[in-house]
Amino acid sequence: MTADRPPAPSWRSALALTLALGAGVAGAAEPLQASVSERAGRLVATFDLPTAFPAEIERQLGNGLTNVVALVASVVPERGGSPAAAGARTLEILFDVWEETYAVTVRDARTPRGRRAVLPDFAALRTFLSTQRDLDLGPAGELPPGPLVLEVRLDLNPVSREDLERTREFIANPASSGRPGGGSRSVLAAMASILLREPEEGEEFRLYRSSPFAAADARGR
């Protein structure tokens, strides 16, 4: 007898990879319109990402292949420190080249198997993606005193380390200096070699940061 295992939430692996690739290229945090409130003993966040999906991204999201947007939101002290609450969500976007519609599957901790929406065009998709509602941040425990902010990290198509390992090969050519120990060096430069570079995909992400709020504000809403 085999037990039916629930499908592993893809957002979990995407998130793990997002975190593993944390040392990527990113600019400063952009301002974030957000609200954090308590509902049935849990913290939920609603936020807008109006700049995250510009018109130019239609070419990427409409490429007919699955694109993944990974979002990680966390409540952290304004002055920095460990997050007091956090949650993640992935959105899998698939443009159907024959139907010319966008299918979006949203997965998060509350709906790990996903909920699906079909959108007629890019404008509708953009609206759908730009406002994220009710992202579960976990139990509404003791939020620390002092000003807090909601930080959101957005990754487009994060690549899992497992996928990188599956595709990586030892194809680097040997060092051209011949036998080890006899290699050349210099003050100006030394051995060069390349290859096995990390793919550029997955290196970019965007950070958003809300204006400060107090723990009482979250509980009182």
């Binding site: 979990r12 966390s74 952290v76 198997r113 990586r168 030892f170 051209s176 210099s186 390349i194 096995l196």
Partner: protein
Amino acid sequence: MPLPWKAVLALVLAGPWTPAAGEDDPTPREAPRRYVIERVEVVGLETTREEEVRRRLLVSAGEVLNDEQVLLSRLRLLQLGWFSGVTTRVERGSERGRVVVVFDLTERNTLLVSDLVLGWTPPQGLYGGFGLAQQNFLGRGLGLSGAFVYGGSRLDRPQDPSLFGVRGSFFAPDLPARRQRLVAGATALFLRGEELTCSDPDCDAYAGALGGAPRLRYERLGGEAVLGFRPGAFERLTGGFRLEALSAEIVPGSGTDQGPAPAILPGESLLTALTGSYEIDTRDDSFFPRAGVRATAQITFASPFLGGDYDYSRYLVQFESAFAIFKKRLRLQAAVGAVQGDAPFFDRFYAADFAYFSIGPALWRSMELNFSTDSRYDTAVAMAGLEYAVPLWTRRGFLRRGYLALGLRGVYTTTGPGAGRTDASAWPVSGEVALRLDTPVGFFNLSTGALVDFLL
């Protein structure tokens, strides 16, 4: 301030995994689309052969479109190092239900600087060298490299022949075969060099007049051909044959000090050897690895049974970890080697090659040419070192990445059992402070250790 991602991950993974009662959790009910791939297009190629790209794709015409296979194909192409960009898209096919998968490729520079040498020593004066390596030769992923070092005539001996070395190498890292993935390569070299043969490393008897010092003048012409296979994705096992025609001549000094010459047969001789090597490289990045190791083991057997004049064996194992020792940005480097029999001097170990710098006349060699006054070669070597890295930047542009390396390395060489350490350097330990750069034309190492080597 960046998010503390590890803490976030711990929090998130501890979150609720099953939907709470009453939560909206509609399982997607629509069956996934099942489009059939009508054809696969590869666009954007300039020098790379299309068949070299296609044999690495995991999708083909007639299959049902599988997004994951397209993604893995894309990653495989990126990992080759031939492309700076690989984008994929799906377009409508000739009829409903059929699609075209397009791989749009942007090629990157694969011609790299492999050697850049500039130095000055009292007996030689100025010398320098340069090397280039093409990593995608003929658009087939073949490696072709060439390098030279030129020193000209020694100072005080302008009538002497120039000292120089040239080397060319070819390597096929991934030859398609039915059941194995083969590798093959060939190297050719020509060197004309000199070793001063004073009885002391500094040639004190000829101080100020090194042109009168005794010397061994030699030439090496030959090469090596190797063939092997890849036992695993990150391993190579090769065997080869090495052939070199050697000539050596002792040029007496003008004084009484006529020290021993480095080991080599006088006159014309022939070196023939079987070689074997095993190489494993699991590093995640060849510039600044954060995981994995690189190790090589090499064996050389030279014997008159192979038609040559030399009878010896040589063993060398080298190891290098990622910057991950003790969960710090620490890298371990180690080497151990030994030679048995009557190996020519250039197949023995030159201590300065393994050190960051040497306090004394010994100086790292350039393409195996020794421009210092110290001609002591040893039959055993052991080296161990640690390097600490401070990442400095990651950005777009010519200087893509940079880090500061702080290293400490100990080297022990000896002429034989019981002979004690050869004091090629007054201290067996040397240090390094280097700025390492990742650029589109190769990795560069601005090394104070190398500078110190010239000064001390």
